[in-house]
C-alpha cells in the first residue's frame, strides 16, 4: 500500500543514525546520545499519555530510580554492569507498581497531579537520603562497560538498545492491548461497558511505560557517568512532556523529534545566551497555540486532508460518470481515505 515510503524513511533514518559517529565531532555524538535517551523517555511518556490519555508529570522519578540504581550498584557495590542495568529496570518496575497502583485511580488533571507528587517523592529521596544517593553531590564515577568506554562506542550501545526498545513499543501499541489503550483514552466507561477491566489495563499501560522509562534511566546513568537530584528534577519530567507535545501527542515518532529539537536547541542556543528556558517556554506556547497536534500530528493531518481531497475528486468524477448519487442524496467529498 502507500506505507512503503514510511519504511523507506525509517531505513534512511537508521542509516543516518548509524553514520553519526563517522560524520560528526565528539561533542555532537554526545548530543545525539542524549537525544536518543531523552527521546526514549519522552516516548515512554507518550506511550501512556498519547495513547492511553494519561499524561504523567512524574516520569523523571521512574527514570531516576533506574539511573540511581545503576549508579549505586556500580560505584558502591561493584556489581556487574549487565546485572546493574537489569536491576535498575526491575527496581523501576517495582516502584512503578506502587506509583501506578495509586495514580491509575485517577484520570486527567488528577492523574497529572498524583504523578507529579510521586516524581517529587523520588526527587526528595535523591536530595535527602544522603547515605545512598549522596544528596547534592550525587553519585560520581560511574564507569562504562569495558568495550564501550568511548563516546562513539557508547553511542552505538544506546542506538541499538533504543531501536530494540522502540520496536517492542511499536509492537505493543499495534497489538490488541494498544487498541485497548486508545479506547481508554477515548472513553473509559464505554470500555467498561464493552467488558474491559479498565483499571487493570491502565495499570498495565503504566507498567509498560515505567519499563521504557527505566531503560532510558539506565542508559542515562552510563551516558552521564554521574547522577544527582537534577537527574530527577521536575524539569526533566516537564521537558519530556514538552517533547511529546512539540513532536505530536499520540504520534509514534513525535516525542523523538521533540527531543531532537529541544536537546539540539538547548545546546546551540546556550552558546549564545543563558536564556534558554525563556525560549523553550515560547516554543511551548507557540506549539500549543498554533499547532496543538505537534509537528508530526499537524503534518499528518495536512497529508490526510490532501489525500482526501484528491480521493474526493476521483470519487466525484467516478460518481458523475456512473451518474451515481450517495445514499442520502448527495455526493460525499473526501470520505474514502483508502487506496
Amino acid at each position: 500500500m502507500a506505507s512503503w515510503w514510511k519504511y523507506g524513511v525509517i531505513v534512511l533514518l537508521l542509516i543516518a543514525a548509524a553514520l553519526v559517529p563517522q560524520a560528526l565531532p565528539t561533542f555532537w555524538i554526545s548530543i545525539a546520545t542524549e537525544v536518543l535517551i531523552y527521546g526514549l523517555l519522552a516516548m515512554s511518556v507518550n506511550f501512556l499519555g498519547g495513547y492511553g490519555g494519561l499524561v504523567s508529570l512524574g516520569h523523571a522519578g521512574l527514570f531516576g530510580i533506574s539511573a540511581y540504581t545503576v549508579g549505586y550498584l556500580v560505584t558502591r557495590m561493584g556489581v556487574n554492569h549487565y546485572v546493574a542495568f537489569l536491576a535498575g529496570i526491575l527496581l523501576t518496575l517495582a516502584v512503578g507498581a506502587i506509583f501506578g497502583g495509586v495514580a491509575i485511580r485517577a484520570t486527567g488533571i488528577y492523574f497529572l497531579m498524583i504523578t507529579y507528587a510521586e516524581g517529587m517523592v523520588v526527587w526528595g529521596l535523591a536530595y535527602r537520603w544522603a547515605k545512598v544517593t549522596g544528596a547534592e553531590n550525587g553519585i560520581r564515577g560511574i564507569t562504562r562497560p569495558e568495550l564501550f568506554t568511548k563516546g562513539w562506542q557508547y553511542y552505538y550501545v544506546v542506538l541499538v538498545i533504543f531501536v530494540l526498545t522502540i520496536y517492542l513499543m511499536w509492537r505493543v501499541l499495534n497489538s490488541s492491548f494498544g487498541l485497548t489503550l486508545r479506547g481508554i483514552r477515548e472513553c473509559e466507561p464505554r470500555m467498561a461497558a464493552l467488558g474491559y477491566n479498565v483499571q487493570v489495563h491502565k495499570f498495565l499501560g503504566y507498567m509498560w511505560s515505567a519499563f521504557f522509562a527505566g531503560i532510558a534511566g539506565g542508559l542515562y546513568a552510563y551516558y552521564n557517568r554521574f547522577v544527582s537530584p537534577s537527574t530527577v528534577q521536575l524539569s526533566v519530567s516537564s521537558e519530556s512532556v514538552l517533547m511529546m507535545v512539540l513532536g505530536g501527542v499520540g504520534t509514534f515518532f513525535g516525542p523523538l523529534l521533540g527531543s531532537l529539537i529541544i536537546i539540539v536547541g538547548r545546546n546551540m542556543i546556550s552558546l549564545y545566551t543563558a536564556r534558554w528556558p525563556i525560549i523553550m517556554g515560547t516554543i511551548f506556547v507557540l506549539t500549543v497555540l498554533l499547532a496543538p497536534k505537534g509537528i508530526i500530528g499537524t503534518l499528518s493531518a495536512w497529508w490526510e486532508q490532501r489525500k482526501k481531497v484528491s480521493a474526493g475528486v476521483v470519487e466525484i468524477v467516478e460518481a458523475s460518470a456512473r451518474k451515481e448519487v450517495g445514499a442520502e442524496g448527495e455526493v460525499r467529498v473526501g470520505t474514502e481515505s483508502q487506496s
Binding site: 466507561p189 461497558a193 464493552l194 474491559y196 474514502e336 483508502q338
Partner: protein
C-alpha cells in the same frame, strides 16, 4: 433470562426508579417505552452497573446470577452487550478498530450459535464495509448507529441492550434499522430495547412495557397495547 426485580435507583436524593420489575426471557425482544425523563436510561445504567444512579434496593439477575453491585466490565463479560444512547462510538478509531476493540468470544446466541465476526457484521451492515477505514467521527449519524450496534454484536452478546437506537435518525434510516433488528430477532438474539419511537418498538418487540415516572405502568404485548388507545394516549401521547 434477565430478571429485574423491584429496583430502586437514586441520583443523590432524587428517587428515579421506584420499584421497577421486568424480565427479558431468552430469545425474546422486549421494548420499554416511555417519554423523556421517565427513567429509561437510568434503568439501563442500573442493569449495566454504571454509576450514577445508585441502586439502593432490588435485584438484577442474569441467568440466575445476581449482577447488582458488580462492576460493568464484569456484567458485560456475562454476555450483556450495550448499544449506548447517542451512539457513543470511539471517534478517532477507524470503523474496523471500533469493531475489533469489542471482539470477544462471548456465548453467542441466535443463528444456531454462529459467532459474530467482521464478515458477518459487514453482511448485516454493508454500509460499514465501504467505510472500514474511516474514523468514527467521519461517519453519518445512521452509519454511527450501525457501528454502535455492530460493535455490540462483535462482543457476541447473549442479550443485546439498546438505548434509543432510533434517536436522531431520519425516518428512512429508522425503517432500515427496524429491518436490521428484525433480522437479528429472527436469528434468535434476545434484545432489550428502550425507545421513544412507538412504531419501531411495536414492529420489533414481543413484549412491551411502559415506564412513567420511574414505575412500570403497563405490561403486555404489542397487539394488546394497540387495542388500548387510552393507555397509548395517556402515557405516550400517540
Amino acid at each position: 433470562m434477565l430478571e429485574v426485580e423491584n429496583i430502586h435507583s437514586y441520583y443523590g436524593g432524587a428517587h428515579v426508579l421506584q420499584g421497577i420489575s421486568m424480565k427479558v426471557p431468552d430469545g425474546r425482544v422486549v421494548a420499554m417505552l416511555g417519554r423523556n425523563g421517565m427513567g429509561k436510561t437510568s434503568l439501563i445504567r442500573s442493569i449495566m452497573g454504571m454509576t450514577p444512579p445508585e441502586v439502593r434496593a432490588g435485584s438484577v439477575r442474569y441467568n440466575g446470577e445476581e449482577l447488582l453491585g458488580r462492576p460493568s466490565f464484569y456484567i458485560a463479560s456475562k454476555g450483556l452487550g450495550l448499544v449506548p444512547q447517542g451512539r457513543r462510538i470511539f471517534p478517532s478509531l477507524t470503523v474496523v478498530e471500533n469493531l475489533m476493540i469489542a471482539a470477544r468470544e462471548g456465548q453467542a446466541k441466535g443463528n444456531n450459535g454462529a459467532k459474530w465476526d467482521l464478515n458477518r457484521v459487514f453482511e448485516l451492515f454493508p454500509a460499514l464495509e465501504r467505510r472500514r477505514k474511516n474514523r468514527g467521527n467521519q461517519l453519518s449519524g445512521g452509519e454511527q448507529q450501525m457501528l454502535a450496534i455492530a460493535r455490540a454484536l462483535m462482543s457476541n452478546p447473549s442479550l443485546l441492550i439498546m438505548d434509543e437506537p432510533s434517536e436522531g435518525l431520519a425516518p428512512v434510516l429508522v425503517q432500515q434499522l427496524r429491518d436490521q433488528l428484525i433480522v437479528l430477532k429472527q436469528q434468535g438474539l434476545s434484545m432489550f430495547l428502550v425507545e421513544q419511537n412507538f412504531g419501531l418498538a411495536m414492529a420489533v418487540a414481543d413484549d412491551v412495557y411502559i415506564i412513567e415516572k420511574g414505575q412500570v405502568v403497563y405490561e403486555g404485548t404489542p397487539a394488546d397495547l394497540n387495542a388500548r388507545p387510552e393507555i397509548k394516549k395517556r402515557y405516550l401521547g400517540v
